[in-house]
């Protein structure tokens, strides 16, 4: 049995999660999103990654992954974007596509400053 906090919304349900016969059972969640979160958290934990990029003109642009990225790929993504400069992108535009063949993209989340 594992105790985890659902990060899907600000309510932050405290859940007890158990794996029995290959099935993940959870209690304490107030909505179905909690059960879905528990499932991925135990099998393949993922997080939305947010950061700022250096633009080629020296300004900085906020970016995010469009879906939660497997945690084991986060460090690699951060290393890639820390080392390089990128041309400014329109908010919503893809900057790095299909990170590690996961289908997760890095997108611009706001204008450069």
């Amino acid at each position: 049995m594992k105790r985890i906090i659902c990060i899907t919304c600000p309510t932050g349900c405290e859940m007890e999660v158990d794996e029995k016969e290959g099935k993940i059972l959870c209690t304490g969640n107030r909505c179905p999103r909690g059960a879905a979160y528990a499932e991925t958290e135990l099998r393949d934990p993922r997080r939305v990654v947010t950061a700022v990029l250096r633009c080629t003109d020296g300004r900085f642009q906020p970016v995010r992954t469009d879906k939660p990225l497997p945690r084991k790929l986060i460090a690699g993504l951060l290393n890639t974007i820390l080392k390089k400069s990128f041309p400014e992108a329109e908010p919503g535009a893809v900057i790095v596509s299909d990170i590690g063949n996961t289908g997760v993209n890095l997108i611009a989340s706001g204008p450069a400053r």
């Binding site: 985890i4 600000p10 947010t50 700022v52 951060l78 820390l82 706001g110 204008p111 400053r113």
Partner: protein, 411 residues
């Protein structure tokens, strides 16, 4: 000198101000929104993390995305937004209209004449000085929000190894931001026996990185000749003192509503919120002046600030049109387990949404609405904590003298 005439002047174009502007313009008012920064969005611009907008937009957004959506909606509704304009004073003239003095690098001094004013000026961070931490006055000491601005808007790192004082959400978010930027985090310390931030931020910002959260601990002394070298941290229960080596200290120790302009206008402030006392139209003690968002009371979620500001914008548009607002003469009070209730006055027979900040922590509690001592509505609340605001919609009875709210723990 430039002159602008409008129905509603909105001061501050953050998550609350943009929403108030949109609501007022949608109600038919000619709206001018001003902000002292070069871009609108307020603190949202530096909050590059996700988690905003679930209530207001039914989507999970980052701060800049939330700001962009709000800005577009405000402009589409017809509201004018002027950035880089600082308001130095607002005066209510004898005829009941307002004259605001603005200045900017681009236009110098501008006078704005309006029939109503909405104050959505946000809040400031409490600093080391507010909690009186002794020790050296060296470089490397920041509020969490100023470090966030440095990192996310200016692309600078505040240091290499940080100690975070205070477990508010900004501090927790900054702990993760530091780790994702290659900054070590020695610990997050909290003077209270329980964390101040949302549980999900404890999970994804501290536990994910194995950052220690030391509850009932305080920063006793800052040590450093030119730059921070260490901090002494005291266990409040045992008295034990530890020294953490670090070159940076981030303070995330609460927010103070910013109401300097309102104070100068003679608006009455509520000591429990730090914001102005308001009625159910979110009108202050000065007629025609409305307030919403973090300058009214500190919110945990921008979504609530935007929802609240919608009401202020609608009320301001109505006031400016001369249509009049319900006479909110019934005072609303609350029991000791609630730090405050906003609004503090409402009108008989209306339907109103109330905001509360509990002073107690418990798993389950009953929030009751009482008219002349008898319960007329109730709401069950789970996981009640001072860090989380409570809300309740209620119908105010047509005949009542005393309205009050009580929060009672359920065993």
């Amino acid at each position: 000198m430039k002159k602008i005439d409008c129905d509603v002047l909105v001061i501050g174009a953050g998550g609350a101000g943009l929403s108030a502007a949109q609501a007022a313009a949608s109600a038919g008012a000619k709206v001018l929104t001003v902000d002292r920064e070069e871009a609108c969005g307020g603190v949202l611009c530096q909050c590059i993390h996700n988690g905003f907008g679930l209530r207001f937009f039914n989507a999970e957004l980052t701060g800049p995305e939330y700001a962009l959506r709000m800005e577009r909606a405000a402009r589409e509704s017809g509201a004018e937004i002027r950035c880089g304009e600082t308001v130095s004073s607002v005066v209510r003239r004898s005829d009941g209209t307002f004259e605001a003095t603005l200045f900017s690098a681009a236009d110098g001094v501008t006078k704005v004449e309006s029939r109503a004013a909405v104050f959505t000026t946000g809040c400031r961070e409490r600093t080391r000085a507010n909690i009186a931490v002794p020790g050296d006055r060296c470089a490397g000491i920041y509020t969490a929000g100023s470090a966030q601005k440095l990192m996310n808007l200016n692309g600078m790192l505040p240091g290499r190894r940080a100690l975070i004082v205070g477990s508010g959400d900004i501090g927790l978010i900054m702990a993760r931001r530091c780790r994702w930027s290659g900054i070590e985090v020695a610990a997050v310390i909290e003077i209270l026996p329980e964390p101040s931030g949302l549980p999900r931020n404890i999970a994804q910002c501290l536990r994910d990185f194995d950052i220690p959260l030391l509850l009932s601990h305080r920063c006793r002394k800052i040590i450093g000749r030119n730059r921070v070298e260490a901090a002494e941290v005291e266990n409040m229960t045992t008295g034990e003192v530890m020294t953490f080596k670090c070159d940076t200290i981030l303070f995330s120790v609460g927010l103070i509503p910013e109401n300097e302009l309102l104070k100068a206008m003679g608006a009455k402030l509520n000591p429990a919120t730090g914001g102005p006392g308001v009625d159910s139209s979110l009108q202050c003690s000065v007629p025609g002046v409305f307030a919403a968002g973090n300058s009214l009371h500190v919110h945990d979620l921008v979504d609530f600030a935007s929802l609240e500001a919608r009401r202020a914008g609608e009320s301001a548009a109505r006031y400016a049109s001369g249509a009049g607002l319900p006479a909110a003469e019934l005072p609303v009070s609350c029991s000791r387990s609630l730090k405050y209730v906003v609004p503090g006055r409402c009108a008989a027979g209306e339907s109103c949404e109330f905001f509360f900040r509990p002073t107690v922590s418990c798993r389950r509690a009953k929030l009751s609405f009482l008219a002349d001592g008898s319960e007329i509505a109730k709401k069950m609340c789970v996981s009640v904590r001072p860090a989380e605001m409570l809300t309740m919609k209620a119908d105010v009875p047509a005949e009542a003298k005393n309205l009050s709210f009580e929060l009672e723990e359920c065993k």
